[in-house]
Amino acid sequence: MYRRRGVYRRLGVYRRLVGAQVRSHSAYRASFAIDLATNALIPIIDLIAVLAMFQVTRTLGGFDIVQVLVMYALAATSFAIADLAVGNIERIRFYVRQGLLDAVLVRPLSALGQLLAVDFTIRRVARIAVVLVVLSLAVSRAGVDWTPGRVALIVIAPLSGAVFFSALFVGTATVAFWWIESGEFANAFTYGGRDFTSYPITVYSGFFRRVFAFSLGFAFVGYYPALTLLGMTDPLGLPSWAGWLSPLVSMAAAGVAGLVWRLGIRHYRSTGS
């Protein structure tokens, strides 16, 4: 009981930190509107890229346009939620380089939680709105046979995919603790991962597919949940319930990311004086 009150109170603190951030930025209202619009455009451009593929082919990796769009929309929703929640962790590079983490570490709060709260940018919410529209259109056109399980899955899959991408954001951004000039290293995995999951993994082959789809777990963000939703069999031979593995894969990824973060923070070097 006491513990639960503590958790609520602590969440209240982070909410206030976010609020302070929003107030700090309210001076720049014009740029906020522009940012919101730009953010809505980004997933639309991605969507056009996927649709463009179908100008030259009727199937992609053995899937038609609606099926591919379900995969794309699941992955894009996952990414958009993760990007809103933890995408700003990529700014850790600047904090580490300039030693700004000092001020964060002397407060009695989680360092990760503070970093996410103080750089929180609500404008990314526009992306979620856009991809949710795409997801509902794709699912309604795909003629899903709605069982209670599938209804649950359409909610769980994007959330667990969001956890997966969040783990990826945190895990790769943490590299900055060891490698200050890490540059675009993290983006290669996060944005690269988003692009990878936008298509059925059957379009990739061999080593590349084994590493990204299975070793790193990207197949469980869009591809397998989509197959389970659509009631399709996997040409690669996994059972039809493989989509339900998605939360487990995400938990594992989150566990690894948490470990990497804890190691990283102990490697923090700060800067002179």
Binding site: R9, G12, V13, R16, L17, A20, R23, S24, H25, A27, G99, L100, L101, D102, A103, L105, V106, R107, P108, L109, S110, R266, H267, Y268, R269, S270, G272, S273
Partner: protein
Amino acid sequence: MSADAVIDARALRKEFIVRRSAGRFRRTRHAVAAVDGVDLRVERGELLGYIGPNGAGKSTTLKMLTGVLMPTGGEVRVCGLVPVTQRRRLAARIGVVFGQRSQLWWDLPLRDSFELARHVWQVPAADHAARLRPLRTQLDLDGFLDTPVRQLSLGQRMRGELTIALLHGPEVLFLDEPTIGLDVVSKQAVRAFLTDLRDRGDTTVVLTTHDLADIERLCRRLVVIDHGRVVHDGTLAALHERYGSRRRVVVELDEPLETAVKLPGVTQESSSADGRLITYSLDGSKTTAGALVARLAGLASLRDISVSEPEIEDVIARLYRAVAAPPPRSPSI
């Protein structure tokens, strides 16, 4: 470890890996010890000046004591806690002012930062108000409480930083160069505040500084480090004694002395105005100004006497020069 030591560090060490280019493509890795075996015990209520030249390891030590940096070796407890592993519990019990790393919200009025701090440190509203009220008068904050932090002068901001560091009633206050860059008035305000805090005796204070006036006015105990090692730990007087700094006595006589004064510990430094103005330097361990004046009074009639205290600048400069000799140890790995 004793219960009443608020800070207890044994053989504290921090190495940084530095890469140097060796040839066109090869780079070698060296471990450089920024802090090289520091032992430090601070009792409750002490005010400790932690001083040393640039790059001596002052900030690195402070960052290890506050849980920001993980020590490479040694043991450290602050308030009985291990700083990095119990960082959050420790943060609730210490206050930190790192001049260059503001705790204030840049774009918000100063008042808002204090309010946010109340929630971050989970201070009951009544306690918060009770602590803020005296700080507002002591640090004269009322004129700029509603000004966004980015518009504050450096002196105003530092007063804000001190306030936010104290609002949760910390047991230990760590200050990294609290007076650096401040104008004379702000420096005096900060110093007066810290003197008061010291005299109340319920907050332990550790401060690093380059400001000699800070040292003279505030620090009863000085720990001097250089190249990551403690080279002096004691009072300012002990430092003077150890580095042979001397008080000077200048006497003005009606007529020159017929015989020079010979007293153990007294050296005649100069004589001018036909021997009627003489400067002596005293070795404080062997004699006193009183003994010298008594002897002089027996030899001649004194017109004027002045005694000048040793200049702390001289002591510190001498100290830094003395310890500058050994090169930093940098074992290659």
